[in-house]
Symmetry: C2
């Protein structure tokens, strides 16, 4: 924002798509928070591809609708959750997609690395970096997560994390 306040409106993870067919300029900056591999398309050729291949357009529509749902879900997080719940929600999101990518070992201990600095997390969650740090410490103290270094996280019990996130309903583990 003009006065220096910063915000993040999305987090792109492996397999995500970025860009807006039909527009020259994006409304937001895209910054790499880690090393990335990108697959790029020339705008003209890509738009032609869309025009000629209805199934691709349909697929893009579905992906965009998914993003929209995610954005709306996040609006609830930003608008109605406490700092602790925001942090827990964020960790749960990362844990979930991480588990999805290397799928298989669904249950048991979850291990992952945070892709963001404390400051970036704060921007994403609408908090200050100090609050992020404090709540991370609090979740660690309460045994909801364990921290090795500042980035490496393990979640011994996903249920407890979801509980801390305010996303109750038990996590819905399939029988």
């Amino acid at each position: 924002m003009e006065d220096g306040r910063r915000g993040m409106v999305g987090l792109l993870l492996p397999s995500d798509f970025v860009g807006r067919p039909g527009r020259r300029a994006a409304a937001y900056d895209v910054a790499a928070a880690s090393d990335v591999v990108m697959c790029c398309f020339r705008r003209g050729a890509f738009e032609q591809l869309i025009a000629e291949t209805p199934s691709i357009c349909k697929r893009l529509l579905e992906m965009t609708l998914d993003e929209l749902d995610a954005a709306r879900e996040w609006m609830l997080v930003l608008g109605r959750k406490t700092a602790r719940e925001k942090i827990a929600s964020f960790l749960a999101t990362i844990a979930r997609r991480d588990a999805t990518l290397r799928k298989g070992d669904a249950v048991g201990e979850i291990v992952f690395d945070l892709p963001l600095t404390r400051e970036a997390m704060a921007d994403y969650l609408g908090l200050t970096l100090e609050t992020v740090s404090r709540q991370m410490s609090a979740l660690k103290r309460d045994g909801v997560i364990r921290l090795y270094g500042t980035r490496h996280v393990t979640v011994p019990d996903l249920g407890r994390l979801l509980e801390a996130a305010g996303d109750d309903s038990d996590g819905g583990l399939p029988g």
Copy 2:
């Protein structure tokens, strides 16, 4: 949310589209806040129409991308703005689309009716209804808006409203 906290993730206004091609169930409730006229399509026929008419799919994609941009814009509002700025941003949004619908008299005094109760505004803005009420009174006291009854609003100077919204850059009135 499960514990009684409520939130709104979008505001549908005349000419908006709601629904998700390709999904049976919506992730959110849709509630009418005023009298409405809806134009409905049967799912099957509509999806067939999409499949057969690439231009419609393309149009839907564009609309969804616009909604996604709006949702992200709103994430910044929810995450980084003060109560006063949130209220002002909301009023500016309503004023803008209202001016767009009955387009023409762009400049000068803007007049419109709020489509929501204070409580619904609070849910949309991530505030309490008391705070909404207080900030409305504050904006009125400061002369940014005028209130006739609880719903009817006039904005004597859009620039000042945008300033209060934190959306500086002067409103960009064309010469």
